[in-house]
Amino acid sequence: MERRVVVTAASAITPIGHAKDELIHSLINGKSGVKKIRGDDLLTDRVESQVFGTVGYPIDFSFKRKYRKTMGPVAFYACQVVKEALESAGLAQEFISSGRLGVAFGSTHGSPTVQRQIYEHFFSGSEEKFSAIGAVDYLKSMVHTTAVNITKMFEITGRVISSSTACTTSSQSIGYGYEAIKYGMQDAMVCGGADEYDTTTVAVFDNLLACSTEYNQTPHLTPRPFDTKRDGLVVGEGAGAVLLEEYEFAKKRGANILGEVIGFWCGNNGGDLILPNMDGIKETIVQGLKNAGIGPEDVDFVSAHATATKMGDVAESMAIAKVYGKGPCVTGLKGYMGHTMGSCGVIETIITLYMMEKGFMAPTLNLEEVDPRCDTIRHTGRLRETPIKIASIQNFAFGGVNTSLFLKKV
């Protein structure tokens, strides 16, 4: 038996805002969250890219020590957005701890800040290098640190899924959460992803010549998805959580339904681990549509992965054109905040839900002149006040992983 799955709460920490109103304000006013990179003693002087999608505002983490003690920065983000989502949903603690609610949450690689501290001990030359590693360092840094800190803080006893597939981490979280409810394994899932401020990731992409470097003095002008003057991605930080519930359960308890998840697909390019692959992307969209039981003509809006790399945006445009033609409006939301890595899928899902609710489509920020090779699709070149009935969120990751999610207004 297949069951309907709806989104009943959401929360995001992003470079362009935290609260829903702030995010919408930034989208409508074309506000960028990309700033000059913060200096560190390790990498920032050596990388060419000097921009970062930065959460540049204070967040009041009022967590007790018994929770804080196993949390690195990434888990603080994760627990905060989940806390806000669960508070907004108003679920009873009895249900949260019943085993019927699970967690699907991940990050690119746990907490690099804590991992860096561990390695500093190892390479310090100090006699204390082994004993200096704290008992909780592993709990703070491990790849599933977000998911299990969430289970601890909210006493969640259901299943735990912790994807760690870089840029598809949180779109997988939502997709696998959706499937867990759809096929009756869980009645609700809190899903999402987070990544903390990390210059290691900048260095990795910088070395691959994939980072933006031409806008170091004007950070707000990069990244530039689909634009002729795009010069690469901008690494960012952030977190997002959505609560998914089985439709009848949500309706019965009077939950506020933000949208329905109607389809999901995840596939792999089956080859190169770095280069984008038009056929792999196209197949993921096609299978996602099939999973959702809709045709390409039903989709009004596509949130493209669109990292603003030279090749990635072209491959994605070609794949979208092959499936949709010039049908749906396409926006690359990373223009606003850079690439928030493990959290990009859920943040882009939440923003799409907000746009669905308010009836607008944000344009791709910094898209001034469409690259002719990306001009085969219908770009959202300006703010459009128009309803979105069905939207798709696309994300692709190193390792050749591709995902497509489909949302419907209820």
Partner: protein
């Protein structure tokens, strides 16, 4: 290093590292102050710093049955005696 000094140090560690202020000396730390296995491991690290000496694996295992501040003080006294610090 006297037992009183050890007690004072331990209570200071509880306040600064574990945010547990003035626990009763015979309180069950797990039941009354949420002091868990992770805290116990962290405390052993703090004791090593206090004694300026690494604990052996057996000494660490011996600590796992400890439940109260008084028992912690007795444990540290025995470690200090072995190291001729008392």
């Amino acid at each position: 290093m006297t037992r009183d000094e050890i007690k004072k140090n331990i209570l200071q560690i509880f306040e600064t590292e574990f945010e547990i202020v003035n626990p009763g000396l015979d309180d069950n730390l797990t039941e009354e102050h949420d002091f868990d296995s992770i805290d116990a491991l962290e405390l052993l690290g703090e004791i090593e710093k206090m004694l300026d000496s690494e604990l052996t694996r057996q000494e660490k295992k011996d600590a796992m049955e400890i439940r109260t501040v008084n028992q912690i003080c007795d444990y540290v006294v025995s470690l200090a005696e072995k190291r001729t610090l008392i």
